[in-house]
Structure formats: structure tokens, C-alpha cells
Symmetry: C2
Subunit: 336 residues, 2 copies
């Protein structure tokens, strides 16, 4: 039932000495990182940063660059810009384009840049796909955002229209908790028949169900189609079950330890997996209790990396939670 990961498996500790947790900004492309980049933007660890913005929804590109610089330095396998954690749904077309342009300029093709283009309207998603391509994206994430609940045929037509409007490869962004649309394996299989729909980002199941979920998804799609997972606290088992990508909130703020766990899981190094899972568990417990989005904004503030607040109506966590979050971050800031 398990399959070998298709993505490259590198030494989980190969970059631990050269990449500090908060490295100095650098825009110089690294040949080493280019050599270890995966074959597609939808394999390996995809790091999803927040998109710092002001109260009017204007993206703070300087603050974004601080976060992205860390991801490049850590050598994550891709950057997932404007995902749910990147609050894409709350940003205007203009601001989303500004964010992609700033990220593209900073990343400079050293790591694939994957961009969320979800929108309520099909024509908006088409426009966002074109914008992202023009602004330098290497791949696209498309979530079937909904207000009126959508039918399978509507979601298929939506994806087909967007896929036809771009040469970039597209990842199906399945996140029923925010989009309120649930993909069946049959629909995923149908979408995988579109030429440039090449990957899936799916919420990881509870660990005990990971192999069954992965087998069901795998059975629905062609061999070259990449299946990856989100929901950090359940992803390890999904990777061990054959998942090819980890779409990670932790990876967007804490790329070094997240990558160590990912590399251990890709190598099926169960001892290292266990050690890193234990270090992450306090933070994941807070994700489950307080939501990953709200916790990661507070964590970015605690780490001195961003003072941005989530877009209203989403409220920042009360300061009373900060000591708990600081304590949960502590094991992840220790040397390996």
C-alpha cells in the first residue's frame, strides 16, 4: 500500500550547520540549493509563510522578504505563497500581484515559487493565474473557494477554465475547512486528466487512516501525479505512507526544524521522526487548540520576525497565550 516518495531524499542534517534559524538576508542565488531542488514544485517540503499586511490589506513586502529570506536560506523545496496561511482570500488582486512580484524578485528562481490563486469567481481565478505567471510564479495552487455550495461539475469547469488560461502547472488545493467543498477521489481523478493539473494538496488524515487515504487517492490518479498533504500535526504519517509533499504552516516560519522532520520522514528514519515529532508536539497542540493561522502570527511576533496582525475579522490571539506559544517554540529553536 505504501509507495516510495518520488521527491529527492537528502540528508536531513546536511544544511543544519550552514543555515542558522534567523539568517542574514541574501539575494544571491545558491548553486547548492539549485542542485537539490526537486523535479517539480509539488514535491518535498513546501513552506507556507504568512503575508504581512497592514489594516487596509496592503502587503508589507519588506516584512514578507524577511520571512522568505529564511525559507531560501533553509533550502525548503518550494515556497507556498498566498496559501490559506498567506491569507490570499483576504487580499485584493493588486496586493496579491505585489506579493508575488516581491517574492519572485527575492527568491530569484533559487526555489520554486508556488502561488495560491483561489477566488470566488472563475474569471477572477483566471486573472490571478495570469497575474501570477507574469509576476514570476513557478506553479499555482487552486482552491475551490465557495459561497454558494458548488457541485462537482462546477468545480471541474472552474479548474478547466483556469488550467486552460495558463501554461503553469496547477495543484488542486483541497481544504474543505475553508473552501467548504469536499473533493471525491473520483473528481480528483477527473481533474488529473487536465494536462497541467499535476498535483494535489490534501488535508492529512488522522495517522491511523493515512495509508488508506493515500492508497485511495493514489488509485484515482496517474503515476506522475503528485500527492501532498497539509495539517502539520498529521503529515508525518502521510509522508511515511507515500505522500510526496508536505504543505506546511510550520515550514513557513520554522523552515529548519520542519525540514529536518520532513527529511527524516522521507528517509523513513523512524528514530529521527520520533524525536522531531516530540519537539513539534507542543506547537501542534496549540495549532489544534487555537488554529495554526492565529498561532503562527503570534509566533512570528514572538520570534521578532513580523509584528503583522491577521486581517480583520480574524483577531490576534490574546497576549495571555504568548507565554504558552513561546514555550512551545523553545524545543524547535534548540540545536538538533
Amino acid at each position: 500500500m505504501q509507495e516510495s516518495p518520488i521527491g529527492p531524499i537528502s540528508d536531513p542534517f546536511s544544511r543544519s550547520s550552514s543555515a542558522p534559524l534567523v539568517p542574514a538576508p541574501s539575494r544571491a542565488p545558491s548553486p547548492v540549493l539549485l542542485m537539490t531542488s526537486p523535479a517539480s514544485p509539488f514535491h518535498g517540503l513546501s513552506a507556507f509563510p504568512i503575508t504581512p499586511s497592514d489594516t487596509q490589506g496592503r502587503v508589507d513586502t519588506a516584512a514578507l522578504e524577511i520571512l522568505l529570506t529564511r525559507l531560501v536560506a533553509a533550502g525548503v523545496d518550494s515556497i507556498g505563497l498566498l496559501g490559506s496561511t498567506g491569507t490570499y482570500a483576504y487580499l485584493s488582486r493588486t496586493e496579491r500581484r505585489r506579493a508575488v512580484e516581491a517574492a519572485s524578485a527575492l527568491v530569484a528562481k533559487r526555489i520554486p515559487l508556488v502561488v495560491g490563486i483561489g477566488a470566488l469567481r472563475t474569471d477572477e481565478a483566471v486573472d490571478l493565474a495570469r497575474d501570477a505567471a507574469e509576476a514570476g510564479a513557478d506553479g499555482l495552487l487552486l482552491a475551490p473557494v465557495s459561497y454558494t455550495p458548488l457541485t462537482e461539475d462546477e468545480v471541474f469547469a472552474h479548474f478547466a477554465a483556469v488550467a486552460a488560461a495558463t501554461d503553469l502547472s496547477l495543484c488542486i488545493y483541497n481544504n474543505p475547512g475553508t473552501t467548504h467543498f469536499t473533493f471525491t477521489p473520483a473528481l480528483i481523478g477527473r481533474l488529473a486528466g487536465l494536462p497541467n493539473v499535476v498535483a494535489l494538496k490534501n488535508p492529512a488524515a488522522a495517522p491511523v487512516d493515512a495509508p488508506t487515504l493515500h492508497a485511495n487517492l493514489r488509485a484515482a490518479v496517474p503515476e506522475a501525479f503528485a500527492i501532498g498533504y497539509s495539517a502539520d500535526w498529521n503529515v508525518t504519517e502521510a509522508i511515511l505512507a507515500g505522500g510526496q509533499a508536505w504543505y506546511s504552516v510550520c515550514g513557513g516560519l520554522l523552515p529548519e526544524p520542519t525540514q529536518k522532520l520532513m527529511r527524516a520522514a522521507q528517509a523513513h528514519d523512524i528514530a529521527q521522526v520520533g524525536m522531531w515529532k516530540a519537539r513539534f508536539e507542543p506547537l501542534w497542540a496549540l495549532f489544534r487548540e487555537l488554529t495554526s493561522l492565529r498561532v503562527i502570527y503570534a509566533a512570528a511576533d514572538i520570534l521578532g520576525l513580523s509584528t503583522a496582525l491577521p486581517p480583520r475579522p480574524i483577531l490576534p490571539l490574546a497576549p495571555t497565550h504568548h507565554p504558552r506559544i513561546a514555550a512551545a517554540l523553545e524545543p524547535l529553536l534548540q540545536p538538533a
Copy 2:
């Protein structure tokens, strides 16, 4: 457990001979209609029309005026512009303002104009509230649209910010099927403490549960707070249980028969209620099967009132459904 409706109870047939189903357009205010208007825009039959728009999301104000003219002529108690049926979530701020301006000019204060101002961002909802007021709205409907699931405190702060930005009265638009937020009676009670939050639009429960739901809601809010219901096929029992408003999809396209049922329910005329429910049941069955939004677009086309299509990704119903919809409309086009 039941309470008397607070809204005025008029003869359900008083306008049947003077207002044909498809009346000639008229912009002249009617003193008779003014006399029978309810005390607040959140009592009685509130008719929710579609908002005809083109494939780029530009509102067809001429097509909208055709629909609104029917509502004015029928003398509904309010017009619910830019509700879920009015696809507010799919229209830009500019287009929503154009729709309100066109509606306000046409209705000319003959009937209260209630406008949906829901948006994902709090600052957008504030802007939409101000726009609607400037464009002539008489009341506002605020749905807690969400992408990231919202907490009760976030929804409260969102409503408080919007309420503070307008002098207009506000109705809580509770529609978990589209907003994915579920109000508790406690939160509704807390919101009812804001000075201009004066009404609730709640999905009607299954008929057997209507009295309990209404009693629970009524117990949570002040006496002057108006409780109304949506989900046409269940509303009759909610009105009989004391509901003060019917927020109606049918009312937006078929105001005459909808008003006859509403007047019968307000008068507790059980024989008339039964007769009208039987006439509506075939259409409601299609609402339940195919969704009210998709059916009402097709019905508008069948009746020759609008050829507009719903905004993509929402697809129009297949033409094979049209004969069924035409048949379901038939009993509602017969004389009373």
C-alpha cells in the same frame, strides 16, 4: 410559546385584482403602498431578487429594474437587494454600489430597500455599509462571510465595527450554509445589544421544530428585536410560530403568490395557508433538489423576466430541467 406577529397583517387578497403578475413598469410612488408599509424594513415579506449581471460581473441595471418593478407593484414589505440570491458575494464593490443606486432610484422610497453588505474583510463590510447608505439603502443585512472559520468574538467585533460605521439599522444574516458560521442564541443576544442591530434573518427550522427554534431565539433578544426567517419551504410554520419576517427567494421573482401565502400565515388563515403551500410545493421540491439559486435563475428565464446566468463557477441548470421548472411555476401563475 407562540407570539403574535408584530408586523401589520393585511388582507392577503387586497392587491390581487390590481397587481397583475407581470405589471407594466411604473416609477410613480403609490400612497396606498406607503400606507401599508411596515414600521421597520425587517417586518413582513422581504423579496430577494437575483442581480442580473454579465459574464464579467457587471450588473445589468435595466434587467434588475424589470424585477424590482414587479416587487414594487406587488407591494412587498421590503426588497432584499444583494442577498445570497442576489449573488452579493460574487460582485465587486463598484458593481454592488451601482446595483443599490439603480434600485434606490427605481424604488424611490415606496418600499424599504434592504441591502446585503457581507464581505470577507471587516474594512470592506464597513465600506459597503457606507456605500449602501449613500446610495439610498433603508437597512442593511450583514452576513459573517468566512474563509478562515471565525470565532464568536471575531464575529461580534466584525458586527460592532460595521454597526458603528452606519446610522442604518442592521439585520444579522444567519446562513451557515453559505457563511459557514453558526450563530448561537447567546451571540445573537449579545449582538442585539448593539444599538442599531435590530433584526435577525435565520434559516427556518423543519416545521416540527419551528416553535422551539422561535422560542429559543425570542428568549435571547429584546422584545423590539425582529426575528425573521429564510428557506422558503419551511417559513410558513416559522411565521405561524411568531416569525415577523419572511426573507424570500420566491418573493423576489413571484411576489404576488408569495405575498398571498405570507398574508395568510400572518392572519393564521390555515385554509388559505394550506392552499398556497400546495401550490408552492412543486417549486420548493425543485429548490430542495437543485438549490433555490439555480432554480430561480432558470425560472426567471422561463418567465421571460431575465436571461442572466449565475456567476461562474455557478453553472446554469441544464435545459432538461426547464420543463420541470415550468410545470412547477404553473400553479403559481393561476388566479387565486
